[in-house]
Subunit: 664 residues, 2 copies
Amino acid sequence: MEGVDHLAQERSKAQFDVDQMKVIWAGSRHTLEVSDRIARLVASDPVFRKDNRTLLSRKDLFKNTLQKAAHAWKRITELRLSEEEAYWLRHYVDQPAYTDLHWGMFVPAIKGSGTEEQQKKWLPLAYKMQIIGCYAQTELGHGSNVQGLETTATFDPKTDEFVINSPTLTSSKWWPGGLGKAATHAVVYARLITDGQDHGVHGFIVQLRSLDDHLPLPGIIVGDIGMKFGSGAYNSMDNGVLRLDHVRIPREQMLMRVSQVTREGKYVQSNVPRQLLYGTMVYVRQTIVADASSALSRAVCIATRYSAVRRQFGSQDGGLETQVIDYKTQQSRLFPLLASAYAFRFVGEWLKWLYTDVTEKLQANDFSTLPEAHACTAGLKSLTTSATADGIEECRKLCGGHGYLSNSGLPELFAVYVPACTYEGDNIVLLLQVARFLMKTVAQLPSGKKPVGTTTYMGRAQHLIQCRSSAQKAEDWLNPSVILEVFEARAIRMSIACAQDLSKFSNQEEGFAELSSNLAEAAVAHCQLIVVSKFIDKVQQDIPGKGVKKQLEILCNIYALYTIHKHLGDFLSTGSITAKQASLANDQLRSLYSQLRPNAIALVDAFNFTDHYLGSILGRYDGNVYPSLYAEAWKDPLNESVVPDGYREYVQPLLKNQLRNARL
Amino acid sequence: MEGVDHLAQERSKAQFDVDQMKVIWAGSRHTLEVSDRIARLVASDPVFRKDNRTLLSRKDLFKNTLQKAAHAWKRITELRLSEEEAYWLRHYVDQPAYTDLHWGMFVPAIKGSGTEEQQKKWLPLAYKMQIIGCYAQTELGHGSNVQGLETTATFDPKTDEFVINSPTLTSSKWWPGGLGKAATHAVVYARLITDGQDHGVHGFIVQLRSLDDHLPLPGIIVGDIGMKFGSGAYNSMDNGVLRLDHVRIPREQMLMRVSQVTREGKYVQSNVPRQLLYGTMVYVRQTIVADASSALSRAVCIATRYSAVRRQFGSQDGGLETQVIDYKTQQSRLFPLLASAYAFRFVGEWLKWLYTDVTEKLQANDFSTLPEAHACTAGLKSLTTSATADGIEECRKLCGGHGYLSNSGLPELFAVYVPACTYEGDNIVLLLQVARFLMKTVAQLPSGKKPVGTTTYMGRAQHLIQCRSSAQKAEDWLNPSVILEVFEARAIRMSIACAQDLSKFSNQEEGFAELSSNLAEAAVAHCQLIVVSKFIDKVQQDIPGKGVKKQLEILCNIYALYTIHKHLGDFLSTGSITAKQASLANDQLRSLYSQLRPNAIALVDAFNFTDHYLGSILGRYDGNVYPSLYAEAWKDPLNESVVPDGYREYVQPLLKNQLRNARL
Ligand SMILES: Cc1cc2nc3c(=O)[nH]c(=O)nc-3n(C[C@H](O)[C@H](O)[C@H](O)COP(=O)(O)OP(=O)(O)OC[C@H]3O[C@@H](n4cnc5c(N)ncnc54)[C@H](O)[C@@H]3O)c2cc1C
Ligand SMILES: Cc1cc2nc3c(=O)[nH]c(=O)nc-3n(C[C@H](O)[C@H](O)[C@H](O)COP(=O)(O)OP(=O)(O)OC[C@H]3O[C@@H](n4cnc5c(N)ncnc54)[C@H](O)[C@@H]3O)c2cc1C
Ligand SMILES: [Ca+2]
């Protein structure tokens, strides 16, 4: 069986240029080349193997993670990899590690909130990993509400120091990744207090451990918070607990880009606008959207390939059974997820652009688009991570029983992914922020203030609240402007309905609280419109490669029509479409599934995953699933002996009936 | 803090008699008393502790499971527990074990398919656990399609034996619980072949291991299939692989209740009707529905208690923040799940009755209601397990970051629960079976044949396809007949629409395949109607206890109106309700959430869980969450040393910059 491509026939059915699609997926030929090269490098390095990860004890797993992180750094330095290459290397190592927080949160926090001197002092240390940093914001009793943090940083003018303290148990820092065992430093968020006055939460660079022997410094209690979801998964990360007992740091270690404490202990704002801090948030959330598409595409790749391998029912006269991918129920669950992976990919690409745009505008002191950009990234973070978490689990179910095996890769992918719905802003809390912004935008419509960016459509409220969709036959649902209009109509009608309901409350805050569930739904509608419209924008660009554009059109339409079907209640109750039109859309959707079917395997091949990175027997490139499952089973430690450990004590006495007297 | 009830104030708010609700939940005062007594017995026994389970290696976990199973059996015999008490004891030990399959599948298979002699021979052995049995149906390449199994059982008239054989790799038995390490015997499903003729799949009792030393018998290769989802969770089970190389068993070990092979090798049907076998299926699925309610209620109990402990935002002047349970978004996610737990409880209770009813009718040779009962249990299995799996994960998200910790109990509950969506019938495959039955029922309507049982409403098709809901104000949505009618209207209209679409196909099978996704949705609508109607039936009974009935009415209405909201597209597109009515229903739903709020904690207290069984720090009865989380963290093996294992090899060289030369 070795070397045979069991999916070759599937691959031969593809109606488009897979190589060109790889370029589209990667973003550019250059990125494809770099990421592909680094993926192979990682895959071929035995230190980076991960197929036995779910069997490691917590301590061994953590040690393995330290080893991988050090080895990654070694390879990065030995091979003199560029920043881009180093990013891909860490990505393909595919094991959460303290380095994620070091590079992903600690460094950006200093870049975003540190003064130039501070950056000059700390960034080189961080870049060379002479210190290991983490991001310590959340506390045992306080998460979403950052303003409620209890840790204090009290300025002591006598010594020109801050005294950082955890006054209560609930003020213990809790969750920061890398904090538990690896980090030597942290950006600690604490309430700044000068002269008895509380100035709210600010960031401080605090050294936690000695650089000589890694022992915690005086006044510091630090440790790991314990096991998390799943085996392997995020347990490679040392999410930590930290208590600070009047720990003193020099005044210079408050991050002072936007506000400062002077030598005399005066609290002053710098001339750098606060809003600059939002830039970092846009940046971080944009990476989360990119990660969503990456995680979802892995799950979809596994489920798609396995669905072509797996056969069940429908055999005539002892012949081959039907591939489960040919069942319409399977398609109607799987293909929308495939479409979503592409949709999130492109909206992530657009967010990257948005970040650049916002940064440029900020540098020009133009804050006009910031609230919109902020709402938009918050909403897209929420939408894409929720859909991805659900999507991974659906892919697992699509694999039937075998999806429940660790070596399908799906359980660990799910376990490692789901906290994305919670960190960097709980998804519901984020939707409510978006809703607040939408209500503000609606309220300003009468003033003639033009909504910007992704809310531009709200400027056409007059038209959108009374228009009727022109869709009259199934094919009309392939028309981008027909699709866009119904998404716009639904979104604005939901927002306006909320605004009207809100206006009936004398107390707006009470109204917002009471209607928050509807408001969150309006926010979802708005975000889905963004995803659809960015996908349409993408498809309307020049796209080279035989048949590539056609496939993207199919995927885009599937994403849109599936969303209509899933949220049909919204579309119908707002009168954005009629029941008849919904039924036509559904017919069209079925037909799109059939069009996609022959291209399904090639569309997941375009993700260009190595078997190493995918980490799934069910998702093997060559489809040679069964011998591989069989061989893998025997490696489980339980199979080290035929008669299990414990037999003599706990099974034999039972069988020998040495525990008699049952009334049964 | 010890001994303080942090939820006392919540408990004092309850507007109903919690003790009476416990009786309702348990099913009877007797069951409450027995289950409560046994729960405490298990909780107080150190052998049954499970708080360190997720830290055990696979081998230690399995050994621990063997120990618990033996200890359970010891207690059962020592204390001379009744069958009922023994059931509860195994239930509260709460760790998947080979005994689940022994009692839950092996014994019922013999009872259901064995002749009287066979039962007389094998059941006493099984009852005394002198043998350990498992249920070996699924193969590596064959699951849902049982008729496609490859294992063969060829009759050899020379020796009066069957030769059981695994002809291919894909015919390896794969998944059976208990098979890997514990079972001495299996009911093996194999294609019966006599005289070269294939009679399809039948069950055979096969001894796998020696009763002396537990070694596999000649021709038998048996082992564990490896790690599954999560840590702890279902990894305590030895789901196994089995290959049979021409293994010979006496002819008497074919399960011969409905068909037999004679000494001469003739295949004959007994006079016992085949349909009897369905009785077992109804039985097993009824237990799965009961388990769904049990698993969901655990998750809901954890999320509800923690939502009352957790505070976030809304603090005025440094006072206490708002309990997150007071946020309407939190309520709109949590309370429908609380309502679902109760709904599934009562529909499970009803299924138990149905099983008795079916059994009685079968004994009287009345098969008339069997197809309906079969469809109904298939559908309810699918509906309740899918909703429970999703619901557990939603409860985890409702706990924010802390829900991601193993000791919240939610990750393991999810991991151990989700395969219920797959085993005993893949949930989608089951829905399609229901849909087939619905299409048959619709097709027979013109003939005047009266639909029975849960399809009785279909007899009123004429009325239901054209009626308009009378709901005119929000309160109308509290009226059971208003609710029932819209659920009936939606269900039958979806079925009839499918039937009409089907009729356009010349080939019915092709039509069914093409429309299968719509058909599955129609099946869901039918099943939701069943749940709603059984809840309404329950609430309309005499219910003693102050305020208890009122609470059940609130829960029933929440379940119904939430379902309408979630599936609004169905209700609107079928014209079962109008957009205006939907909006009124939603208003009513919000008001129901407010009514439920003060009773939330008491409603989960009514599940009567011990802290041991619940296994969650976030769900502790006393709400004393934070000190407990803090104390627990330090027990993680990673915290055995302050400086982690691996520091010297993998961290120090990095910090000391001994891996230089980065281009970064
Ligand atoms: C794997 C992981 C890694 C992490 N890494 C870090 C890190 O490196 N550094 C760090 O500082 N932190 C980290 N965190 C913490 C993370 O940022 C918080 O968990 C997150 O912000 C959510 O806050 P919470 O846990 O307090 O949830 P909560 O806010 O307590 O949420 C509980 C429930 O309350 C609801 N809720 C809360 N507020 C409202 C509201 N106003 N309206 C309506 N509903 C509301 C939520 O929707 C949720 O359902 C990490 C967490 C995890 C799980
Ligand atoms: C934890 C666990 C314990 C188990 N215990 C046992 C046991 O003790 N004994 C035993 O014999 N077995 C056991 N099983 C096996 C279990 O019964 C099967 O996994 C189950 O029947 C599903 O079959 P499958 O895995 O072949 O899924 P598949 O049928 O391969 O499903 C894959 C996908 O195909 C779809 N599909 C399949 N057929 C159709 C169709 N006709 N139309 C549309 N879609 C279709 C499914 O919906 C699913 O999305 C266990 C499994 C698990 C996970
Ligand atoms: Ca483990």
